[in-house]
């Protein structure tokens, strides 16, 4: 896991360098919005349905839409094949992180008594699943035309060997690294999610957070380009 002499990481990246990010929207034909996003080899598909008539009347909120998130991991997503139960606690937790991240950002009061469904599908897992899920969700929600105060951009950062690095891959993640995932609103730099599972010295925290924040801003540039290109493309087609 060591950096080589010129300070590059195991996959040749610099500490503050994201993996190759590619994304696109409108990949599924039935959904109101959908997006596909790759953080290197972590690949996630997001589908958004709604706002639509709420399915369970008991859950309806009279003044806002309810958000519903379901996360599934394909059995073939990691090196070793593994089927996950729908009740896998880890997946339920991650789905609830996504829900909590978006609740303050989606302007749900515009859609009273309705429901917004976010279905996430992890196609390949190579570290940083939560950040990829959040970023894909942002794209899919915007693709569905759902009002949000800002983008939500997520990025991980951690202390890899002797320095802070962002967007950790699976190998970096699994070598007992301290890793944080943060989700940020790029306009106001407000953090809507911060999550850490392992020990990190408090002195290092600030640097890790700073880098993660920078990673989020880099993510924003990539995601905004995807959205803008798509919107301009559609707008131009419509004005023929």
């Amino acid at each position: 896991m060591s950096h080589n002499q010129i300070g590059l990481r195991i996959d040749g990246r610099r500490p503050a360098e994201l993996r190759k990010i590619t994304s696109t929207t409108c990949v599924l034909s039935q959904a109101d919005g959908s997006a596909y996003l790759e953080h290197g080899n972590t690949k996630v598909l997001a589908a958004v349905y709604g706002p639509r008539e709420a399915r369970h009347r008991a859950l309806v909120l009279h003044d806002r839409a309810i958000l519903n998130v379901e996360l599934n991991v394909a059995p073939f997503s990691s090196g070793e094949r593994r089927r996950r139960s729908k009740n896998d606690k880890r997946l339920l937790e991650m789905a609830s992180f996504v829900k909590q991240t978006f609740e303050p950002v989606v302007i749900a009061t515009l859609y009273p008594r309705s429901q917004i469904d976010i279905y996430l599908q992890v196609i390949q897992h190579d570290g940083g699943t939560l950040q990829a899920c959040i970023n894909a969700t942002t794209l899919a929600l915007i693709d569905a035309g759902i009002a949000m105060t800002d983008y939500v951009c997520a990025c991980t950062a951690g202390w890899v060997e002797r320095e802070a690095a962002i967007d950790l891959n699976y190998i970096e993640e699994s070598s007992d690294t301290s890793e944080v995932t943060i989700a940020m609103l790029p306009k106001s730099s407000k953090i809507t999610l911060a999550q850490m599972e392992s020990r990190l010295h408090v002195d290092k925290l600030e640097e890790v957070f700073r880098l993660a924040g920078e990673g989020c801003k880099q993510m924003y540039e990539v995601m905004d380009k995807t959205i803008r290109d798509r919107a301009e493309d559609l707008a131009r087609k419509m004005t023929v």
């Binding site: 039935q30 379901e70 394909a74 059995p75 094949r81 729908k86």
Partner: protein
């Protein structure tokens, strides 16, 4: 995925099928355009994505893993065979009805069907090939499933290759079963299994080594003889293939016909509540058989063309780029 249809829409679809003009202009035996790409998931041994023009979207992965052989405690069979383990999952992105545990029943039904049609291997079981009089193809010793499971065995009684076939339904636009099986065939064709070297340690002990040379791999033997499924939907007195979601809502009886390239019948499944008259049933099976053979021929040609194009690119040192979800 619609669940409601009006009586007049039903009548319009029914009479349209009667006079061979379906609501989208197709004739009864017409398929929608199939968009196919293999090798779309990099971490697998083989993969494919199949889309029907109406929206159905299926991703199939094949992973080859090494595991212990499965011996039937009663018959003692299976000691010299590998395994195929199938799994079909419908994602909620395909339909709200698949949310939570909503797809469990359908997943199980499709998984069982695939397991039955693909891993039927023992020749001692009466293979349905004897029921088709017009078997024209080469003799097939691998049973109805086609794939040669004995070839997947590494050390008899101990270790074998297990092929995990995982199909993921991402979007729904009708005719799921056919799409899943087309994707599975394409993914199996795309699959490469590493070669193994077995050493005899004496005293009946064996050890083996997996060669990790990317060039030195094997294809799945018997893959050409895998069956494919044709779903026939009986609507009124007629039957159609590749039904749209609204046509599926009008379907009285559904017949899934599994057929291989030699035209042998490899499995049947009748679904939904309507009955089928014996004479019509035979006609439908015959029709499914003919269509299935055509479909296999065209599908194989497509898979072959893509594999050849990839090989040429590799030989010329060009990167093989798969579009995956960046396709139109």
């Amino acid at each position: 995925m619609p669940s409601l249809i009006s009586p007049s829409e039903r009548d319009y679809i029914l009479k349209g099928i009667e006079c061979n003009i379906r609501a989208d202009g197709r004739q009864r035996p017409d398929y929608r355009e199939v968009i196919l790409e293999t090798g779309v998931i990099s971490q697998t041994s083989g993969s494919a994505r199949v889309r029907l023009a109406g929206g159905t979207d299926v991703l199939v992965s094949v992973k080859a893993d090494i595991g212990p052989v499965l011996v039937d405690p009663e018959t003692g069979e299976g000691a010299d065979k590998g395994q195929i383990i199938c799994n079909v999952e419908c994602a909620p992105s395909a339909s709200q009805q698949f949310e939570g545990r909503g797809a469990d029943e359908l997943n199980n039904e499709l998984t069982q069907m695939m397991t039955r049609f693909l891993s039927h291997n023992t020749t001692t079981l009466s293979t349905p090939s004897s029921t088709t009089p017009s078997s024209t193809g080469a003799p097939n010793n691998n049973g109805a499933g086609g794939i040669n499971l004995s070839k997947l065995c590494i050390i008899p009684g101990e270790q074998c290759w297990i092929l995990y076939v995982d199909a993921l339904v991402l979007d729904y636009g009708g005719n799921l079963v056919d799409a899943v099986f087309m994707g599975t065939r394409a993914a199996i064709f795309d699959t490469r299994i590493p070669k193994t070297e077995v050493q005899d340690l004496g005293d009946g002990n064996f050890d083996f080594e997996v060669l990790d040379d990317a060039e030195d791999t094997e294809v799945v033997e018997g893959r050409e003889d895998m069956p494919i499924c044709i779903t026939l939907n009986k609507i009124g007195a007629r039957h159609i293939v590749d039904a749209s979601p609204l046509e599926e809502l009008c379907t009285e009886a559904k017949l899934v016909v599994a057929v291989n390239r030699s035209g042998e019948l490899c499995g049947l499944q009748k679904g939904q509540d309507g009955g089928i008259e014996p004479s019509l049933l035979l006609e439908m099976i015959q029709f499914g058989k003919t269509l299935g053979q055509t479909l296999i021929k065209q599908l194989d040609a497509k898979i072959k063309a893509e594999a050849e194009a990839d090989t040429i690119k590799r030989q010329n040192g060009q990167p093989v780029v798969k579009l995956g979800f960046f396709a139109q």
